[in-house]
Point group: C2
Chain length 255, copies 2
């Protein structure tokens, strides 16, 4: 999340001593990075962590393969940044680059999604599948668990079972309706075409979470065409009435 | 330059209506992008111009080859972003993506430099050569010309001849002294190892420009270890006394 920090959040970081370098002149407190996909918004931020920043880089094999195939990511010196492939559905301790444990465990699991935009075949509509190109993350300290799923094309029965009764879920809030970008003249693509289920509607996120008993529900990864970004919109009110929060820069959640 | 905009500059852009979209909801006034190298700080900003932003992308063949080899840059849709290779030392009209001319001409010329960091061979010190991986740009409207050279490892006689009597030169101001990053404990590399000549010293930039008769001399691409970034440093005073300016976000130059 920090990797995509807005100017406001960066300013907040600059004003928060706890977030300043802990070691040396140029370190950050970032010990590990977990990738939930290979699309630009998930991986481009890695380029700002170059060149001598030590951290563990955890991702599925297909996502690591994307990084391997793009030589620009060699700015992350492999002697310093530990690239660690994660098997789907296997809990993985999050280590520091020196191997010491953080006490956190991450489990990646496939969700319906598509290949990154830049790997799409020209002229072909990509399929929405669960190959590990798009994943959710369950992060646990052994006591509490949060789910982080910034991109998801559909709520499957398996995903619903996984999330049932969860303490906290951050979930894909890209679009309010599937065709809102088309109607706004922002582009020709629907949400489905981009691999995102919508927040509203009978197959939408609000409906899909009804009855799952998730305590904290937080929408993130919100496109600037989505009216829930406006504090005073009816759609925001609808989201709030359904018990959801809308993520904001610098948000802190305590479980 | 805009591609590497700091939070301050972005805020300035947001407050300047002339810089807002001229056409449509998501356009920028950027008509063409000229790359002076393939290193991350020269090309990563392209990823923020995705996905439906039309512009011309001008660079040498080796730099285009770097983009071609890194699939992540396919987010720049080739139907919309016109990738245009430029021959060294041949003036090239800068066109809009629709082919209309801007009235500006750019000439790229090789300067001593190295391959991008992420293409270096492990364990080998890269050579400093003039293969077109690192270039300077002469940009002209037919009346006035400015030179933009953000990375340069040495002042060659050919480069000195090219710049003699120029109206304006933006030049590599990365380091004040070759070993300042080593001495500051920021890393093991000298300026030469990174492909940058220093500002000070007998082989430095201030000395190299003496007698060239360049009217406006502006240092840019300044590392945060370089004391000329401080308004009140003796090194800044030395730079100013030699007739140089230090570039800042939002700087405007009229020729």
């Amino acid at each position: 999340v920090l990797l995509n920090a807005s100017p406001d959040l960066r300013q907040q970081i600059e004003q928060t001593p706890a977030l300043w370098p802990h070691e040396g002149l140029r370190s950050t407190p970032i010990t590990a990075v977990v990738l939930t996909g290979g699309d630009v918004d998930a991986i481009a931020g890695l380029l700002t962590l170059r060149e001598r920043q030590a951290f563990s880089l955890l991702a599925t094999l297909p996502v690591h393969a994307v990084l391997d195939d793009n030589s620009i990511f060699e700015v992350l010196d492999r002697d310093i940044v530990r690239r660690q492939p994660i098997m789907l559905d296997v809990p993985c301790p999050i280590g520091r680059p020196d191997g010491a444990l953080t006490g956190l465990t991450v489990t990646l699991f496939a969700v319906p999604g598509k290949v990154p935009l830049y790997l799409e075949q020209p002229g072909r509509t990509p399929t929405l599948d669960e190959t590990g190109q798009t994943v959710g993350a369950a992060i646990s300290d052994g006591r509490a668990t949060l789910f982080y799923i910034p991109s998801c094309a559909a709520m499957t029965p398996a995903l619903a079972n996984r999330l049932r009764g969860a303490e906290a879920v951050f979930f894909d809030g890209t679009l309010w309706t599937d065709d809102e970008m088309v109607r706004a003249g922002l582009g020709p693509k629907t949400g489905m075409r981009m691999g995102h289920m919508s927040v509203s509607g009978p197959d939408g996120t609000l409906a899909a979470f009804e009855g799952l008993g998730v305590r904290r529900r937080i929408l993130l990864h919100i496109n600037n065409s989505n009216p829930i970004l406006l504090d005073d919109s009816p759609e925001r009110a609808q989201v709030a009435a359904a018990g959801w929060d809308v993520a904001f820069d610098g948000m802190e959640v305590t479980l």
